[in-house]
């Protein structure tokens, strides 16, 4: 991923800045700039997500894409955020610990690197809430 492509999504990836439609109050993360319900009468504004959610489903990845090979096995899940939307993210926990319905909160973590000299991708992972 080129620097510009990564850089322009930094607020979303680092701080979970998504969007919200003020017309219907629906929240979007990953962010959308067009509300599928209100369409052109929707008014989209930025919204900072609290970062709490519940695991809907998960897997443990043993065979990964090149960039993630060094991290296997790792837990990947779909998290339903308390504000409504769902997102895909890694869960920082043991692979035998994860389960459907588990409460999680977001943390800032390294996601991957572009080789030895490329940029380091940071972003959001989740950890179990005690």
């Amino acid at each position: 991923m080129t620097v510009a492509r990564f850089w322009r999504k930094i607020p979303q990836r680092y701080n979970m800045i998504g969007t919200k439609c003020e017309t219907c109050q629906r929240h979007f993360f990953p962010p959308r700039t067009f509300c599928p319900d209100c369409r052109r009468s929707g008014r989209i504004v930025d919204h900072k997500f609290a970062g709490f959610g519940t695991i809907i489903t998960y897997t443990v990845i043993h065979t990964a894409n090149e960039q993630f090979e060094a991290f296997t096995p790792y837990v990947l899940a779909i998290v339903k955020l308390d504000e409504g939307p769902r997102m895909t993210a890694q869960i920082v926990c043991r692979s035998d610990e994860v389960k459907i319905g588990m409460r999680v909160k977001s943390v800032f973590r390294r996601i991957a690197t572009d080789g030895e000299s490329g940029i380091i991708h940071y972003g959001t992972k989740f950890v179990p809430v005690d």
Partner: protein, 388 residues
């Protein structure tokens, strides 16, 4: 709107074809289809070619013109169009060709699919396939295609009574069929043990739950039904064609374990054809992973949600069962050259309807269905075909 028929079909052997390049694969499939239709190339009015990612797999774009050129048609200047919808590229190319003939715009049209996947390292091909999902919000965080389907499986098994053995039976059945298909990549039968002892890829999916990386091409030739008998004694009628889309990400779906695009396209295909499930003699579904076949059988309406595992374990989806599924061996055993798969599904149904399917022939087959999925269900194409 005119009725449309398949008048010829051809397919390369699927597999890791180290000695064949992209061009050779396509030319081979095209020549087989033309020969089958007893047609000379000059008669072709237009071509639609399904291809997911020649740009990443062989660093070649502009596939429509390249293929027309190497098919010897550069001096005929026919329109040749590439169609892309990830793993549903072939199904959509077929549908575009059907629309072209049906509308009266063109008469003799080639619908083809081709993918050359083994010219890059396995890690690179896995990454290319991830582009069928959302690169920014799925691929970026470490999702793989097996990983996404594994999350469907995990959700499904949490909600419905599907055992690990029933899931494995999907692959066992597809390998049994593949062993009876001369174009299949894998022609060996396997057991439930084979699946359960294979390498873990993404829990709960193991290597034998996953379709392979494959090179291959397939082509069919379409004509107006009223002209079909000029070319063949066994025309196959395209009874209906339907296509639907859904969210690009799995996490945004209404229901993780239901492919709504399959439900919508399936219902529409049945409605347009004025047929019901009882009329279908066999169906080629998009089993990129074992769980995908389970979902497809249910989402197309062949049984209720939660029952496809038992249906499979009871042998009802096998050759000779109530509704034979993936008589070709499916993506699992026949192989999955992504852009070609949708056309290969049509090729299989054409063989069945012409009573040319050899050891995997369904007795008295009259009507068949194909179901081709892009990504985790963001695009679906469904076709119903019958004896013309």
């Amino acid at each position: 709107m005119r009725d449309v028929a398949v008048i010829g079909a051809g397919c390369t052997r699927f597999g890791e074809k180290w000695s064949s390049g992209f061009r050779e694969l396509f030319v081979e499939a095209g020549a087989l289809a033309l020969e089958d239709a007893r047609l000379s190339g000059e008669k072709i009015d237009a071509m639609y070619i399904g291809n997911m990612s020649a740009g990443r797999f062989i660093e070649q774009e502009h596939i429509g013109a390249l293929i027309a050129d190497y098919a010897g048609l550069a001096t005929h200047h026919i329109p040749s169009t590439r169609v892309e919808a990830a793993c549903a590229s072939g199904g959509l190319a077929f549908r575009q060709a059907v629309i072209a003939v049906s509308s009266g715009m063109e008469d003799i049209v080639v619908a083809a699919g081709v993918e050359k996947m083994t010219d890059v390292e396995p890690g690179a091909s896995t990454d290319t396939l991830t582009g069928a999902a959302d690169r920014e919000w799925e691929g970026f965080v470490g999702a793989t295609f097996p990983g996404l389907y594994a999350m469907i499986a995990q959700d499904y098994m949490h909600r419905y009574p599907l055992t690990r053995e029933q899931l494995a039976q999907v692959a066992v059945k597809n390998h049994y069929n593949g062993a009876r298909n001369p174009i299949a990549q894998y022609q060996q039968e396997i057991t439930i043990e084979t699946v359960l002892k294979s390498t873990m890829v993404a829990e709960p999916l193991r290597l034998f739950d996953c379709s392979p990386i494959t090179d291959g091409a397939a082509a069919v030739i379409l004509a107006p039904l009223e002209r079909a008998r000029e070319f063949t004694d066994t025309p196959i009628k395209v009874i209906s064609s339907a296509q639907a889309s859904d969210t690009i990400t799995l996490h945004d779906r209404r229901d993780i374990s239901t492919l709504d695009a399959t439900v919508i396209a399936g219902k529409k295909a049945f409605r347009l054809a004025k047929l019901t499930h009882k009329d279908i003699d066999m169906v080629e579904v998009h089993d990129c992973f074992s769980i995908a076949e389970i979902c497809a059988i249910e989402d197309l309406g062949f049984c209720r949600k939660g029952e496809a595992g038992k249906l499979t374990a009871d042998g009802e989806t096998a050759l000779g069962g109530k509704i034979p599924v993936n008589t070709s061996g499916g993506l699992k055993a026949c192989g999955h050259p992504v852009g070609a798969t949708g056309i290969k599904q049509v090729f299989e149904i054409v063989q069945q309807l012409r009573n040319e399917a050899g050891k995997r022939q369904i007795d008295g087959a009259k009507i068949g269905m194909t179901h081709n999925v892009g990504g985790t269900g963001a695009t679906v194409a469904v076709h119903i075909l019958g004896r013309g």
